[in-house]
Symmetry: C2
């Protein structure tokens, strides 16, 4: 155990610098950053230029470097770096949720083939140790559901709108200034970022690696004052939730959608850049994990923890996935399920012509907009998501429990 | 990894039966209970008598048994069983917080000497994976504080009194009927149970193994309607909290005390048998972990997780403790610290004659009782705890933050 972790770091943005600062501020940490690979030669950096390289091979071919830490934002480049590093026999720590979610099956296979480890605690819910907890603590315990606030930036925006009556654009701007938003904020507010995390968490919690585009996601980018007023009138806040729910032993559903959350629920008090994960397990019952979901230090802390675990030769074993593969367990992802939603759409649109709404309990309209509250099928939502997006439809589930 | 975990189980009460039921209800779990050691030959049991033994050597001497799981309530007997098992080269999983807290230094030394593992996730906060998280996730990150609701039974009682206006005795009775209370409820309501857990958690979170009797604890057993009315008038609930707080790089304080918790705090909404742990870490920031803290299944789930980890040869490495020992870190437990408290005591008692109270901001009295709100020194409280107990004094901190 007296080997030292020598890190090749890719990326030196908010998270990369957060990690670098943590490593230099924490005592007794047996790791150092040997080289930092960045893209832009002309950007001014807070460290001497000899610490940087612009050629990713300089890190992959350096035999002294025994751990690659990847914290760049571009998912395609990250995929390139991570898969090359794994094939070069190097362990990797990444924070790139999009890259991990989109390539999970391949990344699991590469780890097995090359006997290396890829960990990505920082990819999901910032500083909350949710992947490790699902891997190590709930590895043998069947779960009923996992649900939560997985995107700190959109939660920050929703808090500002609800608590301070800020307009959407002003709230988004604040999130960007504070460093909570992704480089492309569309990822946050569309629910895509939460969706990527949901895919990763679902793989560890239920053993199913579902590609993100198979799961319906709806964000907060079309939120109007009208919708917020509706939620407030019902005594609830709007929170953007990611949810995976075992309907029965053979059916798992998953989605990302704004939800009307009521004051007696744990998620009601989760504000600003905080994330929270609710795990409902067969024996442990309901667990809540809450922590900072965005920002350089919380994400850096999660990466630090992966770096530390790497020192102790920790790796994911994907126990739930292996159990599913090697036993007669029939659990499958299947979006054929009705959920009750509030849908607000433009006056000119004939919503029900392409999206069947059942059990309608409420409708309303003003000059430009109308809304309906009723049940829709998740599969229909998936099929019609482009139309819903084009028409700037806003949708929210009326309850946390499905 | 195809060896099977063969368990010798000590104790078959609520928790032992919970574990047994989980092991027989969960698929794909590579563990079975070979023998169960119990004390009372004449009690009727839900399993055939050949599964039971009354001689603890039958388990310790059985070479087939590779894991001892100890879930009896008597701490002295548990100590006897666990230390013998460790000396016999057997790994042990225990749920006995009192035994672990009182003998932690010796138990750590035994693990090192005999190359065996002792894990005790179930000893602290039921189903919340707090020890594992401190060991593995926060192993290299300095913490500012750990605080929380560590005793499900007393939290249940406080919830019933606050929310349903139940008298103390009736609430305690309900906790006992529901199986949330320890065999001896005095352990719960006096804060002793929470204190034992605090000692264990402090060892993993800060590296200091403090014997329980060095830490001040005050419980809810002397709670009057008067005290509850005072807290309600200030807009707060009373929660029994355990807290360890780093005052500076050289001083750690720790205590168990009822606290006035305000509506904007996370712990305000933690009700009934739920436990919660707040961790404030240097980089990750504030984290909340909330889950069921009492009952056979939640505790069984935590034991199950230890059993599963044992299969993967997991053991605690006490990293923070080793860091403290091998570096120049000067952090020490030192109760010389003032906290602001509400103290309610009998009319006849001359409180300040033996307990100095500074910065008094409020006093009051009725025919039999009087109260004072001011600052007291933790060291004085420790010295006077027998007198406080004899006089049935009730005390609560006015704020969560110290």
């Amino acid at each position: 155990m007296n080997k030292k972790t020598k890190i090749g770091l890719f990326g030196f943005g908010v998270v990369g610098q957060g990690l670098y600062n943590i490593l230099s501020q924490t005592d007794h940490f047996n790791a150092e950053v040997l080289k930092i690979c960045v893209k832009n030669r002309h950007k001014s950096r807070p460290l001497p230029s000899e610490r940087f390289t612009y050629d990713f091979k300089e890190i992959l071919d350096d035999p002294e470097i025994n751990l690659v830490v990847e914290v760049i934002s571009d998912a395609r480049e990250a995929y390139h770096i991570v898969t090359h590093a794994l094939r070069h026999g190097k362990n990797v720590v990444t924070a790139n949720k999009k890259m991990v979610a989109q390539n999970l099956k391949e990344l699991i296979a590469l780890q097995e083939e090359f006997g290396v480890s890829l960990t990505y605690e920082a990819s999901s819910c910032g500083s909350i140790p949710i992947i490790r907890t699902l891997e190590e603590y709930f590895d043998n315990e069947p779960l009923h559901s996992i649900a939560g606030i997985f995107n700190g930036s959109s939660n920050f925006i929703l808090s500002k709108i609800y608590n301070e009556n800020l307009p959407y654009e002003a709230a988004l701007k604040q999130a960007q200034v504070l460093g909570f938003a992704e480089a492309d904020p569309e990822l946050d507010v569309s629910g895509m970022d939460a969706l990527n995390k949901l895919c990763i968490i679902t793989a560890h919690g239920f053993g199913l690696a579902i590609p993100p585009h198979h799961i319906f996601n709806s964000g907060i980018n079309n939120l109007h004052a009208l919708d917020m007023a509706y939620a407030k009138a019902k005594g609830s806040k709007i929170k953007l939730l990611a949810m995976a729910h075992k309907v029965n032993s053979e059916q798992l559903i998953a989605l990302v959608i704004p939800v009307m959350v009521h004051p007696d629920e744990d998620l009601y008090t989760v504000e600003n850049e905080f994330n929270a994960v609710l795990v409902d397990a067969m024996f442990a019952g309901k667990q809540l994990f809450k922590g900072k979901g965005a920002g350089g230090f919380p994400t850096g802390a999660a990466i630090l923890s992966d770096v530390s675990a790497n020192f102790y030769e920790y790796r994911y074993t994907y126990k739930k996935r292996n159990n599913l593969k090697h036993t007669g367990n029939r659990l499958k992802y299947n979006p054929d399920f009705d959920i009750q939603v509030y849908i607000r759409y433009p006056q000119h649109m004939n919503l029900t012509a392409f999206l069947p709404v059942k059990d309608i309990i409420e409708t309303g309209s003003d000059h430009h907009q109308q809304y309906v509250v009723g049940k829709v099928n998740l599969r229909n939502l998936l099929e019609q998501r482009n139309t819903l997006k084009q028409e700037k439809v806003f949708m929210m589930a009326t309850h946390t429990s499905l």
